[in-house]
């Protein structure tokens, strides 16, 4: 009988301090065979990273492994000394973290950092190590000679993430733990990096654990998928079986959350907001948005899509008046708006509301929910204390929260609840235009789906025009009647969503569409194969 490369048996991890707190990981068992990839899937707090670190023989400060064992190649890691485990890391087990920027020393060239472990661990001479690193950089699809000599700040996020994978691969480890290695990248880059990782681990026949919250993404690299929730195993199955015939309701829900129902409303003939030839940028440097014109009908959702850095958010800031455009006009209800927020009367401020990406920064941590939601009522409607209290309760109910949360502080709510509070605050002003800047991208899949549904319901009920900024084309398909694709600050394609996101594509839109990982529909027939392209 051969032993598995990694075998975790009945692992339980607990946080110190509060004995009443739930276990971080509870009785999880899994194994990774040589040369295979295990996908670890779950929402935040599912214990994915804790398990990934345990596979390195490491427990984060403030946590401890209370029972279970981690066997790597037959060696029980937690029975060995810390110095033994440390020697194992980097040499036989490597770790690729989410943020490559934090893992590189900004003061050294990439090549020197990549080969460091090969020099130390494999006792290669410098020339041989460099040779190996350059080959691997090549495999990862990078221009090896130029990239290797650069400093970390001189390359892009995607390149750095690949360089980090090379750093992990360079010492030829038996096992690599990838902890959300592409989450911080945008869609198109994410796909390139994923393919490069896949190619490189196949080439060296390295085993890997691939941790992610994105099921569609993991299903492209993993041989088997292990689904976690609240620190417990939900199910584990070969990838193809799991995505086509999930055996638990939770996995089914995860799969379905990726496939949005289409609830696109139709456009009102009345134009609520119109941008004419907007060019904008910050004090110095070239314009970030160039000559953009678009219109949003009353009650209509216009999606603004593009890669990070394409100027989506900048355009949002022009609309709400935080950034004064260099040229161009903003028309609201046929009337020109003051370019800067300072010159807009209260009525105009009230009409255009914003929902930010992360409620953690958009809600003042020192204010109670009732103050956050009640403030627009005090400013725009001069309501008294009791009236405000009643309206806040009603608003919280509208966003499907219990009015009893009014006395809480934001830190006492979950991420989804906080975003609902931010929505309640926006709705409290009774706006006609809502700017949503990636309002669900910081949330877990299932929570995001519900928040999105809520947003769309409120929008339809109050016929609010919505400028929806996102990079997620799955969302765009399900909510936006029209879509504008932004690239380098210019609109490259615009029109009805069904037409914009259907072939024939221009190069850029084609790339965006192709980059979205999609899952096959959940189907009783097992014969389905995985598909990449939705178009």
């Amino acid at each position: 009988m051969t032993t598995s490369l990694l075998e975790i048996r009945n692992l339980t991890v607990r946080a110190h301090g509060n004995p009443a707190a739930p276990l971080l990981v509870s009785d999880v068992s899994l194994r990774v065979e040589r040369g295979t990839v295990l996908g670890l899937i779950g929402e935040s707090g599912a214990g994915k990273s804790t398990i990934g670190l345990a596979a390195l023989g490491y427990a984060r400060a403030g946590t401890s492994i209370t029972s279970g064992s981690v066997r790597f190649d037959g060696i029980d890691l937690f029975q060995e000394s810390e110095s033994y485990r440390r020697a194992l890391r980097g040499q036989r087990i490597a770790y690729v973290a989410q943020s490559a920027t934090a893992s590189f020393n900004p003061a050294f060239r990439l090549l020197d950092q990549i080969i460091e472990s090969s020099l130390r661990v494999n006792r290669l001479d410098r020339g041989a190590a460099q040779e190996r690193a350059l080959t691997l950089l090549d495999v990862m699809g990078l221009d090896a000679r130029t990239i290797a000599m650069r400093f970390p700040h001189e390359v892009s996020g995607g390149q750095l993430q690949r360089a980090m994978t090379v750093m992990a691969l360079c010492a030829r480890p038996d096992l690599i733990i990838f902890d959300e290695p592409t989450t911080a990248l945008d869609v198109t880059t994410q796909q390139d990096v994923l393919k490069a990782i896949q190619h490189a681990i196949e080439l060296q026949s390295t085993a890997a654990i691939y941790i992610s919250h994105d099921l569609a993404l993991v299903s492209q690299v993993a041989d088997r998928i292990h689904v976690l929730r609240h620190g417990c195993t939900v199910e584990e199955a070969p990838t193809i079986d799991l995505v086509t015939r999930p055996s638990t309701p939770y996995t089914r829900a995860l799969l379905e959350a990726g496939v949005h129902e289409t609830t696109v409303g139709h456009r009102d003939a009345h134009v609520a907001l119109e941008l004419q030839g907007i060019t904008a940028g910050y004090q110095t440097g070239s314009a970030i948005v160039r000559d953009v014109s678009l219109a949003i009908g009353r009650g209509e959702t216009l999606a603004l899509v593009g890669e990070s850095g394409s100027g989506k958010s900048t355009l949002g800031r022009v609309v709400n008046g935080l950034l004064r455009p260099r040229t161009g006009r903003i028309l609201f209800d046929g009337r020109e708006l003051a370019p800067s927020i300072h010159n807009r009367p209260l009525a105009d401020r009230r009409a255009i509301q914003t929902v930010h990406q992360t409620p953690d920064t958009s809600l003042n941590p020192r204010h109670r929910i009732e103050e956050i939601v009640g403030r627009p009522l005090a400013i725009y409607e001069n309501l008294g204390r009791q009236q405000r209290k009643d309206r806040v309760g009603a608003l919280l109910e509208q966003v499907e929260l219990s009015p009893s949360l009014a006395r809480r502080f934001p830190a006492e709510l979950s991420g989804g609840q906080k975003q609902r509070v931010a929505i309640a605050r926006a709705i409290a002003a009774r706006p006609q235009i809502l700017i949503c800047d990636e309002p669900t991208s910081a949330l877990d899949t299932l929570v995001a789906r519900d928040v999105l549904a809520l947003l769309m319901r409120l929008q339809a009920e109050n016929s609010i025009g919505c400028l929806f900024i996102t990079h997620d084309l799955n969302i765009v398909r399900s909510i936006a009647s029209r879509t504008a694709v932004l690239r380098h600050g210019q609109i490259v394609r615009a029109g009805y969503t069904s037409e914009v996101l259907a072939p024939p594509f221009d190069d850029y839109t084609g790339k965006l569409v192709a980059a979205v990982p999609t899952l096959p529909r959940v189907d009783p027939e097992p014969a389905l194969t995985l598909k990449w392209n939705a178009g």
Partner: protein
């Protein structure tokens, strides 16, 4: 409430020490056996029942002078720190929010003040200005305000970049609301910590000035002047000159421990 029971011993002792200092400051007229300049014995009288710390070179009761001196030292330092905090924090937050030229002018002025050695700056100013308590407070406040300014400006710049301040702007909130309701509640802890630290520095600063003869002037006395007057008494076995030093050390440890505990509890309290 449960926090009360887990009170560390060091914090409890600090609390007791601070309470004692406050009591001495507030109740000096009741606690001091004699008036500050009352002559009760002969020169350098050793400790006795009537004057437990002995007398100074002209026969004044040292315990009484120590108590009266505590009052002057603590009140002057507290007033200077409070003034410095109000001045520095309001200008700092305003500069951090407004940016542009007001920030430029204020920040460069603060750089200028900070570049000069504080003690020498204060000495020069006090040689040309009247050495009244009001001027001493004003000069110390001005010098210490630069520290509060830097901190408050940084907090304002950091916080103003957050989405909730942006939201407040978009909503149409007034600047005062943004300062007092959005920014200050999120920056009060570092400012409070700085306040404790600065208060201690001000006590030391005032004592140094007085020791050099530029601080508190007779007929008033403070801890610095006491050290200066009684350092010769060490030769006669009158150790009173050491007492203000011990008092300053105890006050410093107590205040910093307390501030540490308050700010740590606030940060870890979520």
């Amino acid at each position: 409430m449960t926090r009360m029971f887990k009170l560390p011993v060091s914090v409890m002792l600090s609390g007791v020490a601070i309470a004692l200092f406050i009591a001495v400051t507030a109740l000096a007229p009741v606690l001091a056996p004699y008036g500050v300049n009352e002559i009760v014995g002969i020169s350098w009288d050793p400790p006795s029942l009537s004057s437990p710390l002995g007398t100074d070179m002209i026969g004044r009761d040292l315990l009484s002078r120590f108590i009266w001196g505590a009052r002057v030292t603590i009140l002057t330092a507290a007033a200077a720190t409070l003034l410095a905090c109000l001045l520095g924090a309001s200008f700092g937050i305003l500069a951090g929010l407004r940016r542009g030229w007001p920030d430029m002018v204020l920040s460069r002025f603060v750089d200028l003040v900070m570049a000069a050695p504080t003690l020498i700056l204060a000495m020069v100013l006090l040689t040309i200005l009247p050495r009244s308590l009001a001027f001493i407070v004003a000069i110390m406040a001005l010098i210490e305000a630069t520290r509060f300014y830097r901190l408050a400006r940084l907090i304002a710049v950091d916080t103003a970049a957050l989405d909730f301040v942006e939201s407040a702007y978009l909503r149409g909130e007034k600047t005062l609301w943004i300062i007092f309701r959005e920014i200050l509640p999120n920056g009060i802890m570092p400012i409070l910590a700085e306040f404790g630290l600065r208060f201690i520095f001000t006590v030391l600063f005032l004592s140094t000035l007085s020791f050099l003869g530029l601080g508190v002037q007779p007929p008033l006395t403070d801890w610095g002047s006491l050290i200066k007057e009684n350092k010769d008494g060490l030769l006669f076995g009158i150790t009173a000159a050491l007492l203000p030093g011990v008092a300053i050390a105890v006050l410093a440890v107590a205040v910093t421990t307390m501030v540490d505990w308050i700010t740590a509890g606030e940060n870890g309290g979520q």
